[in-house]
Every structure is written in structure tokens, then in C-alpha cells.
Symmetry: C2
Amino acid sequence: MDFLSPYVQQIEKNLSELSLPKSPATLYDPQRYLLETGGKRIRPVLTLIACGLCKGDTQNAIPAAIAVELLHNFTLMHDDIMDQAESRRGRASVHLKWNTSTAILSGDSMYTQALLQVHKIPEDVDYKKVALVFLEGINRVCEGQALDMEFEERESVSIDEYLEMISGKTSALLSAGMQMGGIIAGSESSGIEKLAKLGDTLGLAFQIQDDWLDIVADPDKFGKKTAGDVFEGKKTYLMISLLNSCNKEEKKWLLNCLKNKPLAKPDVDKVIELYKKYDILESAAALKDSYYSEAENILNTFEESGYKQDLKQLIETLKAREY
Amino acid sequence: MDFLSPYVQQIEKNLSELSLPKSPATLYDPQRYLLETGGKRIRPVLTLIACGLCKGDTQNAIPAAIAVELLHNFTLMHDDIMDQAESRRGRASVHLKWNTSTAILSGDSMYTQALLQVHKIPEDVDYKKVALVFLEGINRVCEGQALDMEFEERESVSIDEYLEMISGKTSALLSAGMQMGGIIAGSESSGIEKLAKLGDTLGLAFQIQDDWLDIVADPDKFGKKTAGDVFEGKKTYLMISLLNSCNKEEKKWLLNCLKNKPLAKPDVDKVIELYKKYDILESAAALKDSYYSEAENILNTFEESGYKQDLKQLIETLKAREY
């Protein structure tokens, strides 16, 4: 996504100039380590674009964008402990490279660093408003993660509950970052509401697409093995749709499989067959497409600008991704 | 400490009216559970008193006081995981009653709830200033906890390093809460600086006293067994002083003991003998007394008021505590 590189370079430059303290090393080294491992920086880019969309100077939104990226990395550090993830972006996860205590505490500190960044927005911006949007976003992220963990223990989850969960886990921070960009640009509340909805919708589209790609993506390009989520018995959009669509006997068999993770290859194959039998993949594709269309419709209500073109192109690129 | 009950009742009333959401239960139930287990509520009481000391209406400082108490409980929830503590205030710690993931995430949410409370301070107070003091306090708490964990792995720790550590771990939140109370009262910066110093000094006094009571307290009243810290091989003020005072041979023996925790009874007895040999207990008592005196001296510079009398009595009570 070369068209985003001016934004990404801004973010990288500012991340490299963060100058977190050297000591205590066990507090700050893991934060540096995780930030250095990169990532696509989509969230902070969206914060900058949202500011530009509302005719603001994107330079003013840089501290908010950095705050969003730090917050995102804090959630990764803690989520990796909860998910017992061994690696992140090709490197050992913090709780394995150091230990769980260090990952907990370093994450807490990274959360604090994110909030301290928000203090750096220009003096004439309503700080309280920006901080509140950010905190409410974080609150939704925590709720989404809690629901995700609860769903893994539950037999029955509705599609609406699943959407509520990913709207917290994935959308909330995109949405908060975009709203922060808009507030910093001095946009009025109707504009902020549109940005909130745009961020939410993009998050939903992206997450459902991710669930769908687990089956349909080219594994070499996707960087994960095909049906990895099924092997892990994860309650994705596909799995929840299947549980809500299949017949009683299939459901009984499926719930039994989910109790014995990881699933065996023949069971995974059977799940994929059931996805096909009940048109689950088509339903997921249609839902993600409808969210992407909704995002595009909202974007079309903004005035023309280079930022609008960039976001349009970003949405098209995300929509077309096959991995 | 009956003279504090009007403050404590205010805090309890407001905590009981927090009305955290019911769902997700795994996110909010642990927070309710920990808040219900009580605690002395010293931190929020000091926030209210600081506001009163500066001639402010303590009602205005209630959200800040609640924020401080929530933040304190967040640190307890995460610290208990790091310390593998099995109980807290006589009940199972959150990570054992639920599990580690729940305690991590519920703690993150409690941190967020604390920050959301700060949004409830009156409109005419400089919110940005209050939020910054709070965040910088939290930052120091994280650094203190990181140093504490690092020191446990290190052979040599200086007294200055130890004081830096407890100034983060114990003083920072007292100090931040008192400053928040002062800012809300509309105090000028010289007043805020005095409150900062007062909170810092009280924290240092309290922590060194706690280390000292580990040996000298009546175990029935203290609620912990005598020399519990020594059995655990903890790097308290006493232990660090001893490592910095004893001869080479004793140091070698001591470091060896600390490598094999918990210590055996005869070794603990020998450590206590060494404390006596090197006047470590007297040195700790003198240091805590000097911090308490410093706190009293700072307090004396404030104008007379009922709040000043209450804080005076609180310091006297803390100073005299034998458990």
C-alpha cells in the first residue's frame, strides 16, 4: 500500500523519536521491542486521514495517532498472554521473551504512555473531549476482549453477540482514533459521528473478512495455514454461523469437536464441508462486502480531498485483499 | 481511626454507587469483588483531606478520590498475579478465584474506570492538569513495581535505589491523589508542591515502617507472621541495609540464603541476629521517624482547619502503629 507511505513514514518517525526511558529496562525494553517489530500502522494512519478528511492539519493529530498505536500494542502485549500466543509478527511474544509478569507490567506502562501522548495535542484542542473518546474506545476494547473469552466457554453465541464482540475488539480503537482525528481538526459533532460510524464499519468488515480468509485465502500469502481457526476451534463468524445454521445432529458433533481442541484434520475437513453445505462462506463474504459498501457510502459524504482519495483507495485495497 | 469515618463513609457510599455494568461479567465481577473486600481507603481519604486543607469543597474531590482508589485496586489485581499472591484482604485473589487472563483484563478495565472517574470532576477545574498529575503518578507506580521486580533478581541494591523504588510503588499514588485534591481546591502551585512532597514523605515513612514492623510487630495484631519478609527473602529496607552493612563473609552467606527461598527458620533467626548486630532496626526506626517528622513539618505550614487536625491525627496514628 505505497500510497499510504507518507503517513506511515510520519508514524514511524514519531515512534522512533518517542525516547522511552532506558530504566527500568524490564519496563521499557519490551515496549521498544514490540514497537520495533512493525505492523501495518493502519490505526494511526486512519487517525491522520480522519483529521485530513475534516480539513485539519494532520500534523496536529500525530500525538493522537501515536497514542492509538501505543494503545494497540498494549492490547497485543496483554492479549498474547491471554491467548498464550508464542509469537507476534515473526518474533517471540513479550511474555515468552521475558516473562508473564514483565509483559503485564510493561503493558500497563504502555497504556500509560499512550495516555501521556494525548497530552501532547495542541493547546487549543478540547483535550477533555479527545481523552474521553479515547477512554471510551479503550473501554469497548476491554469489553470486546472479555466477550471473546466468554464466548470460547459458551456453547451458544448469536450472530448479534458476535458482532458486538468484534465491534469492541476490532472496531472500537479504529473508531476512537478517527474521532480523535476529527475533533483535533475542529469538526462539528455530525462529522465526528460519521467518523465514528466509518471506523466501526471498517473494523467489522475487516474482522469478518479475516474470519473468511481463514478458509479462502492462499496460505502462502496469508501467512497462516488454511483453516487455522478451525483447527484451533475458534468461535469465528463462520463457526458461529454454522452453529446457528446446521441441524441438531451436526451441532452435537460440532460442539463435541470444539471441546477437544485442537481439532483433527478429518474433523476440520468436515467443518469446511459443512461451511459449503450451508453457504457460510458466501454469507460471510456478503456481510463483509455490505460493511465495506457502508464505509464507502459514509466516506462519499465527505468533501473531496487527497485524504478522501487515499481512504477510498485504502478501503478498495482492504476489500480486495486475499490474504 | 474513627476520626476518619466521615471521609471513609463518603468513599464507601460513592464506591457502592459506581454501578459498573453487569456484563461482561468476567470483566466487571472481579472489580466489584475486589472493591467489596474493603481496605482502609487511606489513599482516597488523603485526596479529600488535601482538598480540604487547601480550602476546597471536598465534595468536588470525590471523583478524584474514587479514581485513586480504583487505580490502587487495579495495581493490587495485577501485582497479585506478579507476586503469585494467593489471598488479598482474607479472600482469594482475583487470579485464583477466576484465572490469570481474567485478572489481567479486569485490571486493565479497572484502570480505564479510574480514568473515566476523573472526567467527573467539576467543569471549572483544569481537567488536563488533574489528568496529567494522575498519569504521571501511575507512571511512577509502574516504574516502582518494575524496579521492585528487578531488585529481587539483583545481588546489590543501594539504599537510594530502594528509596526510589518505594517512592514509586508506595508514595506516587498518595502524592498524585493529594495533588489532585489540591488542584480541585484551586490551590496555587506552591501549595500543590507541598502536597506532592507531603504525599511522597508519608509513603516513604509508611513503607519503611512496614518493613520494620515485619520484625518488631506483635504478629497477632499485625496479621502476618513475624519475619515473614525474611522467610520470603524479600529485599526490604532492612535486608538491603544489612547487605550494605555486614562483612564480606556474612554477605556471602546472606546472598546464598536469598537464592534458596523460602529461608529456613535457623537462617531467619540468624538474619534477625545480624539486624541486631548492625543496628538495622534502629536505623529503620530513625528513618521512618524522620520522614514522619518531615510530613508533620510540611503539614504545619498549612492554615489551621479541621482537615489539618484530621491529617495531624492520622499521621500520629500511623506513626504509633505497632501492626
